[in-house]
Symmetry: C2
Subunit: 180 residues, 2 copies
Amino acid sequence: MKNTQKLSLLNYAILGLLKNEPLSGYRIRKIFEDTAMGNYSSSPGAIYPALSKLEQNELVEKITDPKTNKQFFKISPKGLKNLKEWILKPIEMNEVEKKMNELLLRFAFMDDLIIEQQKVYFLETFRDLLVEHLNNLKAYYAKEANNLPLHGKLAFEHGIGSNKATLKWSLNALKEIIKN
Amino acid sequence: MKNTQKLSLLNYAILGLLKNEPLSGYRIRKIFEDTAMGNYSSSPGAIYPALSKLEQNELVEKITDPKTNKQFFKISPKGLKNLKEWILKPIEMNEVEKKMNELLLRFAFMDDLIIEQQKVYFLETFRDLLVEHLNNLKAYYAKEANNLPLHGKLAFEHGIGSNKATLKWSLNALKEIIKN
DNA sequence: GTCGACATGTAAATTGTTACATGATTTA
DNA sequence: TAAATCATGTAACAATTTACATGTCGAC
């Protein structure tokens, strides 16, 4: 049996959108362009080839509305499975350090795809790794802040502040998830 | 006269590091790999070709330590000019919305490259655009939060919290820059 | 004397950007 | 009816990832 293949972030972002409802390529582009949905490229040269590839791999299905004759893409069971596996992948330290937007995207698509227990586990792991990461950053700062040029120091402080905000967010999210 | 060409973020990140001191390709890789320096790829397949290209364009110069026979890259006057122009580019709303890490990178390299007045102007523009962006996010949230699924809502809240932290940071950075 | 870190590179494949091209439909 | 938006795509190019390949140097 073939392993579930790895897809690019853009592909997962598309699958995540299609999870809720079928969309045209154009609608997907507009969502990436207009909304706060990440930094995923909305250029036709990225979206249409990505959709074709997803279709080839049978992760999405192209359907045509018989009335309007317009095309939509619908996520397939295989696509749903692939999306779910990506969302449930154990979080690694490396991701907390350098791939925060991917983790947030995974969280954003969890809704009806996994059970509460899995969501809680995700957030608790996220929180714990974030605390560890923050401690590393603070330790580095305490040791090196004096040696850094002012702008380097301030940029570093942004990193700390930003991670603190994310930690605070994760605690609140955990509360919200638990109280349903 | 040729315009200063656009470079990829990775190229600017390299130039910014070389601004302080000559470094070997390997040292650059390790800095990207080990430190909190963004999410720039540290793979040899990215760094070495990038350095070659920078050298071809005369933005960096390859020098050899006569004692150890080791190679280093040094930023050239042309490279410095290019870096400075990138840093001084007027900030656009689009960047605040989707390219925060690029803006932070530009800030991190400002140090001795531009004068205080320019730094202050950068931060004030940044702050103003951020306030505007935050107002847009909040307005959207107020209108749509009820219609969003829980995870979408929470992910959106992360965006708001994260931008608030950045705004707070910018105010503090402004203070620090002014008091020198 | 071998293991890990230092050090530099290439090749193939993938991914994404930029620019172009075209046409339908809606709205002012 | 002109302009804007909807809608889909391709081609050339640039950038990056992944995997491979090779060799040095210091420490244990």
